[in-house]
């Protein structure tokens, strides 16, 4: 088991390195001169050359790469090439909690809606309730998240004025404000996700409910509710765990667009803005961090699987 872990860990490191390297080279091969853009109004040719030299962007690509990698091994992710040259680690440290908050709240909303919905649909199969849940799930899956975000803003923020239209407040400052700012974005992101979970729970519950061991439990005289919650649900949740890994992908992708609409400076937005501005160090750092999150969560999911389902073993 531990050999497996070690192999996975090493594999993960290799993959992360590969991704970061690819991004490093691709970003530099591409058209677009951030230095010229930065100094377009202020500087002439000499200032541009000076700044380029100062940032080390005039050296050959492989030299830059070696330097970057060496710094990386020492934990230095470099600094943004714009303005006050803030360290990338700091930029990411400030952006990451926001995206994680958003993802977490979205996941919570999604689960809170989806689990009961899925259970109801499964236990009332083919009735109106089931069809309603199914249809709503389809709707949720089909709606573009940025569209939902815009509609939510128009209704709840601009017209009803229940929540603010933009921005982010850290949880440690004020829980209530944090919630108010994050609830609309979380709904926008979580809706598609909850649709997937609801459908998954429904089909997996159906499978579980018709399984043999359920009949055995029923014959033991357990009430319906105990059957449901104590036996059926935990088993039905197993496939949902798999989805969690993919959930992070969906949530991050959704978060990027939603962060854009709600003006939340999270990791997705940092990445996008960095790419558009050709802010090389920021993009590299963000890519590494996102990769890391991904790989780690996939690893955790696999491990969780082992714990939950004793039938699965890796060697």
């Amino acid at each position: 088991m531990s050999r497996y872990l070690l192999r996975r860990f090493l594999g993960a490191v290799v993959v992360m390195w590969a991704v970061a390297t690819l991004v490093f080279f691709m970003l530099r091969v591409v058209p677009g001169d951030p230095i010229a853009a930065m100094l377009a109004d202020v500087g002439g040719a000499e200032e541009i050359a000076a700044l380029r030299a100062k940032l080390g962007l005039d050296q050959p690509v492989y030299v830059q790469y070696a330097k970057w990698f060496w710094n990386l091994l020492q934990g230095d992710l470099g600094a943004s090439i714009y303005g006050s040259r803030v360290e990338v680690s700091r930029i990411i440290a400030e952006a990451l909690p926001r995206t994680l908050s958003l993802a977490a709240l979205s996941a919570v909303i999604a689960i809170v809606i989806a689990v009961p919905a899925g259970i109801i649909a499964a236990t009332h199969k083919n009735t109106l309730a089931d069809n309603a849940v199914s249809f709503t799930a389809f709707l949720g899956l089909s709606m573009p998240d940025f569209w939902l975000a815009i509609m939510l803003i128009i209704v709840f923020a601009a017209n009803l004025k229940w929540m603010p239209a933009i921005g982010y407040v850290a949880m440690d400052e004020s829980f209530w404000l944090w919630l108010k700012h994050l609830i609309l974005p979380a709904i926008a992101v979580g809706t598609g996700f909850s649709a997937i979970i609801a459908r998954m729970i429904r089909s997996s519950m159906l499978e579980v409910l018709s399984a043999d061991y359920m009949r055995v439990a029923a014959s033991k005289g357990l009430t319906n509710r105990m059957l449901l919650l104590g036996h059926a649900l935990p088993n039905a949740l197993i496939p949902v765990v798999t989805v969690m890994g993919i959930a992070l992908a969906l949530l991050m992708a959704g978060a990027v667009v939603v962060e854009n609409v709600f003006a939340i400076k999270g990791l997705g937005r940092v990445l996008i803005v960095g790419i558009l501005n050709r802010d090389y160090p920021v993009v590299q750092g963000a890519v590494l961090v996102v990769s890391a999150i991904f790989i780690v969560s996939n690893l955790l999911v696999d491990l969780l699987y082992v714990v939950i389902d004793p039938r699965i073993r890796y060697e």
């Binding site: 594999g11 991004v23 573009p144 940025f146 509609m151 667009v257």
Partner: protein
Amino acid sequence: MMATPIDAALNEAPRTARRSRLAAVLAADRKAQFGLLVLSVFLICAILASFIAPFDPNDMQFDMMGGPSWEHPLGTDDLGRDLLSRIIYGTQISLLVGISTVGIALVAGVILGLLAGYFGGWFDTIIMRYIDLQWAFPNFIIAVYLVAVFGPGLFNVIIAISLAFVDDFARIARSMILTIKEEQYVAAARTVGASDARIIGRHILPNALAPIIVTATVSVSYAILGEATLSFLGLGVTSDTPTWGLILADGRSFISRAWWIGVFPGLAIMLTVLSINFLGDALRDALDVRETREG
């Protein structure tokens, strides 16, 4: 992106029975019928756009931000263009992107997966590593990155989105192969002296079709959503033809004054994706043994 359960059971029933089950499912499932209808309408719009659309989608002659009226059933946008015409032309790119990206991803992914699974060895290792690599990153961000780096434009968008789906197909094809490789009839075919290509083409491929088809339909809906999102972020197609995501992006600042600019393109996207999902569900019912057992 959603991964189809890799361990989808094999369908050993002969193809004809499968087809008639598909027809039966479609006849009974109203949602699927609805989906088929909507998609057909959109398809016709896409092909016959220049005949159906009342106006040129780029004509800025009309009143800016006029509400729905007889002359302009869906209203006009902030530059005075007829929204109905723009949405009709929008079907072209949306459907084109949806189908071509998945088509490319499917062909590329399946070939990769087949090769990896069938031949094994270092071939397999390389391809698996690549799949792992792509797994280490949210697909959508890959697409954003590629388009942002190489520039917007239809071709780049299609390539970028296709790339995001390749790993799904490769993974399925590969695991199908690995499972089937052990099956009886492959061994039987080989003893009779059938070549590798024949085995792949005649025996393996048709049986792997089911989960691939299902994945394809799901991917089409994601591709359409992806294109809309990319256009919304300003990283999408730049041609004259408007796409729904682009209409939303351009009109974003005006939606509060002109709700029709926000509602109709969004509805169009939603209807398309919904229809594909309905159809996909019906396909899954027809082709996937496990679910039909539950009835």
